[in-house]
Symmetry: C2
Subunit: 250 residues, 2 copies
C-alpha cells in the first residue's frame, strides 16, 4: 500500500487539503500534518530557534502549532512516520495559483521542496482560480498526476509544481510539462490607519499580470491545461557563473 505525507500552507482546516486527503485515501494511507493557521507567503521557512507542539485532530491528521509547511513535513517524517519514508510528499491543494517567481514565496511549493530535500518524491498542488473552486474535482485531477508519478517515477533531482485550472473535467484541455514563467506585476506598500489613527502599511500587488510566454506555467493554466513544472534545489545560475569567472578578475 502507498503511504502519502500531506501538508499545505492554508492550514489544516482548509478545504483544499481535505479534498486532496479524500482523493489520495482511495489509493493509500494518507498522513496529514498541517499548520494551525493560514501561512500563505511563508516561503521555505523552518523553525529551529524554538520548540513546537503537535496536536492530533483525527486519525492520521495532525497540526503543528505555529509550524510552517517545512516544519510539518519534518514532524510527519521523523515523528509520525518514525523516519520511514512515505512514497510521496504532497502539498496543497493551495487555494489559488503558484506560478512564476511567486513560487519562491509559496508555502505550498516549500512543503514539496522539503520533501525533496529529505529524499522523497514530492508534488505541490495549487488551483488556478480564486472563486467558486470545486476542490473535489481539482483533487481528482491531482490524484491522476500522483498516479502517473507513481507509475513513471520522478527524476531524483526534481520535484513538481502542479497548477490545475478551476474548470470542469471535460473543459480541461490536457496536461503540459512547463517551465516557470515570469510575472509582469509589481507590489506596492499601501498606507492605512489603525483604529487609533496610527499609520500601518500593507504589502499588496499593484495589478496582477503575467507574461504569456508559450511553454510556461502561466501560459498552460491560462489556456486551460494542467501545468506540471519540474523544479530543482540547485539555485546556481551556471551561465552567470561562467560569465563572472571570465570577467571578474579576483
Amino acid at each position: 500500500m502507498f503511504t502519502f505525507l500531506l501538508t499545505n500552507d492554508d492550514g489544516y482546516f482548509s478545504e483544499g487539503i481535505r479534498a486532496l486527503r479524500s482523493a489520495l485515501k482511495q489509493i493509500g494511507r494518507v498522513v496529514c500534518v498541517a499548520p494551525d493557521r493560514n501561512l500563505s507567503g511563508v516561503g521555505h521557512s523552518l523553525t529551529f530557534n524554538s520548540p513546537l507542539r503537535i496536536r492530533r485532530i483525527e486519525e492520521d491528521f495532525w497540526t503543528v502549532i505555529g509550524g510552517t509547511p517545512a516544519d510539518c513535513i519534518h514532524f510527519g517524517y521523523y515523528l509520525i512516520l518514525e523516519g520511514k519514508k512515505p512514497h510521496m510528499v504532497c502539498s496543497g491543494i493551495n487555494d489559488g495559483p503558484n506560478l512564476g517567481e511567486d513560487i519562491t514565496y509559496s508555502g505550498t511549493v516549500s512543503g514539496a521542496m522539503e520533501g525533496r530535500i529529505l529524499g522523497i518524491p514530492s508534488i505541490a498542488f495549487s488551483v488556478f482560480g480564486r472563486e467558486d473552486i470545486d476542490f473535489t474535482q481539482v483533487a481528482d485531477v491531482a490524484k491522476q498526476v500522483v498516479i502517473k508519478a507513481l507509475e513513471e517515477g520522478m527524476p531524483e533531482d526534481a520535484y513538481l509544481n502542479v497548477n490545475i485550472p478551476n474548470l470542469r473535467r471535460e473543459e480541461i484541455k490536457g496536461f503540459l510539462i512547463t517551465k516557470q514563467g515570469r510575472r509582469s506585476y509589481k507590489e506596492k506598500v499601501l498606507k492605512l490607519s489603525d483604529p487609533q489613527g496610527k499609520p500601518i502599511y500593507w504589502i499588496t500587488a499593484e495589478q496582477f499580470g503575467w507574461m504569456l510566454e508559450e511553454g510556461t506555467d502561466y501560459w498552460a493554466v491560462y489556456h486551460g491545461y494542467v501545468s506540471i513544472t519540474p523544479l530543482q534545489l540547485d539555485m546556481t545560475n551556471y551561465r552567470a557563473l561562467e560569465e563572472l569567472k571570465s570577467s571578474w578578475k579576483l
Copy 2:
C-alpha cells in the same frame, strides 16, 4: 553617490548589519531596514495577509515590526526610497554560513532574492564561522565584493550569495566563483518537556557535514576562500523537463 538598501534576518540589533552598514557608509548612503527580531530560517517569506508597522531607530535606519527580510526590502524600496531604485541591495552579514541547500531556508539570501525580483543588483553576505567573529574585518571584505560588483556590473538574471571565512585578512586565500554545494547532514526532531512536563519538539541537525566537492561554496570557504555564488530566480529543472516531456505520456 551610491545608495545601498540593507537588510538582514538576524534583526536590526545584530552586529553583522551594523558592521556592514559602517563599511558601506564609506562609499555611499546606506538605508537600513531590518526585522525587529531574529528570523534565521524564515526563508523567502512575504507578509501580505496582515499590515505591518515601521519604526525609525536612527538616521536612515528602520525596523519593520514583525517584518521579514523580504518585507523590509519592500518597505525600504517603496516607502523609504519612494520607489527610487538603490544601486544595490545588500543582506547580512549573517551570523553563520549560508551554504548548499540551506540557502533555501535563509532569510539573508531571501533579502537579496527580493532585491533581484525588484530589478536591483543584490548580494547576500554571510560569515563562515560560529565563534569569535570579527565582523569589522568581514565587513571590509564584503565592501571589496560590493565595489567589484559596482565596477564590473552584475548579470541581470543573477544575484550573489557570498560567504566569507572568519579569518584574518592575510589568511584569506582569495575569492572564488562557486556553485551551490550539497550538505550531507539531516535534521531530526528532538522530544523535550516543557516546565509543566508536557512534550515539546525541537527541529535540529543530527550532525553537521557537507560534501567537499571542488567548485562548491562549501569547498571554497572550507579552504579559506571567499565564496561568491551567482543564484537565479528560475527554479525550473530543465533536464527533468525534457525527461518528463519524453517519458510521461499525458
